[in-house]
């Protein structure tokens, strides 16, 4: 599938730049509201919970529980530079620090809903991916 180059590049420049910048430094960073502590991905220009414009970068833990997962087997369903990852398991993880995030799951594994996971930072083609694997409860 084609890359959404321009809009992604634009998003990366402004409110969401912190995310990829954090991954590059092997830190998982979220924008957290200084007024009410609400956080979510993607970062919005202001806090949707209380309306505050004061958001701070907050490094959070990569640990959490699997909320859902899929296994992608077909090339046309992944971005061009991920074809070599097939079959690709993607997990939706409810992180311990209160936000939900998508991530790759350790190659060859099959996750389960409710499974305890933790992420590690993996370099791939000039960027950093968060890859989740099973963790002790």
């Amino acid at each position: 599938m084609p890359e959404p180059t321009e809009p992604t590049a634009a998003a990366r420049r402004f409110e969401n730049a912190y995310f990829a910048d954090g991954l590059a430094q092997h830190r998982l960073v979220v924008k957290r509201c200084t007024a009410c502590e609400h956080a979510q991905f993607p970062a919005l220009p202001r806090c949707p919970a209380c309306g505050s414009w004061e958001l701070r970068d907050d490094e959070i833990r990569t640990s959490g529980d699997v909320y859902s997962w899929i296994r992608i087997n077909r090339e046309e369903l992944v971005t061009d530079d991920a074809a070599d990852l097939l079959p690709l398991v993607v997990v939706t993880v409810d992180l311990d620090d209160g936000v939900r995030l998508f991530g790759r799951y350790a190659p060859g594994g099959t996750p389960a809903i409710g499974e305890r996971v933790a992420g590690t930072f993996v370099e791939r083609r000039g960027a950093t991916d968060l890859v989740f694997e099973r963790a002790a409860r």
Partner: protein, 377 residues
């Protein structure tokens, strides 16, 4: 005097894998067919509405010009996918009721197979950089992510997805418009590999080239036209809290086991003064099998976790009578609306339901979407 809006005609091009025609040509063919089907003339049309995803279609103004519309009072182009057909039809009905326009065409046209395949489309937006860098692409993947959670939470599984395939592929076998031959067997289903687990190819819609359209006018005028008027009894759209920042952004949506149907249900049925038990026909948006199950439960046609069994029991409710988008072809749900109209007018051919006074139609799969309640007069 209060005005009521009614659908008075439908039009289709053939659904193909390679139309060999421009999207504008397809759009005009379908709109012209719909106007003629109603027994109207393009000069009667004063409104045109359509939707597109990542510029995959042709704008309403081009269709109005090609049709020979004398004066357009409303042209609507919305950037939406399958959430739009019921939404636009409902909006146009309200515009007719309040007297802004008299007669309007709502269409969807696309070379969805030979040119812009949504299955391989990346959606730009704020959510993009949380998905594509890890390879999480493709709309099928997002609906699959919801399906895994939905099936888990409701205690359902592959047999329940199969129940959708069984019913709808059987309907497609007797629908001459269907792009897929239908008649998928249980072994044929379970022997086919996963495209994106938990979906096999039979759980996924078939992209097509083509167009279809509906024409709406006042009920008063529709009574003098060719077919029995189909009254737009109620319409509703919902994008509940934290519906995301683009069509694929479901990061902040809290519950993947419930989509917009759960949120608009009370408004929809309340506005029509009806309950699910009053409905004869349900045309549920089905880019993938799981959305039929989520929709039946969300709208209250059955209890939570009961949708697969509900389909297997084969009660009085007719569901996705044309084989759905899954088997007729993926015109992003516009053909879900037209099928409901054909059913209510009693002209659905071999797939005509015995009881066809009322229908619910839905548009959309995930966070946001729309629905209609239609009734024959």
């Amino acid at each position: 005097m209060t005005r009521t809006a009614a659908i008075c005609g439908v039009g289709y091009t053939p659904f193909t894998r390679d139309s060999g025609a421009s999207v504008l040509r397809l759009a005009v063919e379908a709109c012209d067919a719909a106007v003629a089907d109603a027994g109207l003339d393009p000069a009667d049309v004063d409104g045109v509405a359509t939707f597109s995803l990542n510029s995959d279609s042709t704008p309403a103004v081009a269709v109005a010009s090609s049709l020979g519309v004398t004066e357009s009072k409303v042209l609507l182009d919305v950037q939406m996918g399958g959430q739009a057909p019921c939404y636009l039809t409902g909006l146009v009905a309200r515009l007719i009721e309040c007297g802004e326009i008299e007669t309007a065409v709502v269409y969807r046209a696309m070379n969805g197979r030979s040119e812009s395949r949504v299955g391989g489309m990346a959606f730009p937006g704020e959510g993009a950089l949380y998905r594509y860098p890890i390879g999480y692409g493709g709309y099928a993947s997002y609906v699959a992510m919801w399906a895994t959670r939905f099936l888990h939470e409701t205690g359902q599984g592959p047999d329940d997805l199969w129940s959708v395939v069984e019913r709808q592929s059987a309907a497609a076998a007797t629908n001459p418009r269907a792009i897929r031959p239908g008649g998928v067997t249980r072994d044929g289903y379970f022997d086919s590999p996963f495209v994106v687990e938990p979906f096999r190819k039979w759980d996924c819609t078939a992209e097509v080239d083509g167009a279809c359209a509906v024409v709406l006018t006042t009920l008063e005028r529709a009574r003098d036209l060719r077919w029995q008027p189909v009254v737009v009894k109620a319409s509703a759209y919902s994008a509940h809290s934290q519906s995301g920042t683009d069509i694929g952004d479901h990061l902040a949506w809290s519950d993947y086991s419930r989509n917009y149907t759960s949120w608009l249900r009370d408004r929809l049925f309340g506005a029509a003064g009806l309950t699910p038990a009053d409905i004869d026909v349900a045309e549920i948006y089905d880019c993938f099998t799981s959305t039929v199950l989520i929709g039946l439960e969300g709208l209250g046609f059955c209890g939570r976790g009961e949708s697969g069994a509900f389909l297997r029991e084969g009660g009085p409710l007719a569901v996705n009578t044309h084989g759905g988008l899954l088997y007729e072809g993926y015109l992003h749900g516009m053909n879900t609306v037209t099928e409901a109209v054909l059913q209510l007018q009693g002209r659905a051919g071999a797939n005509q339901c015995a009881a066809h006074a009322t229908a619910v139609v839905t548009s959309g799969a995930l966070m946001d979407g729309s629905a209609l309640i239609l009734a024959s007069e």
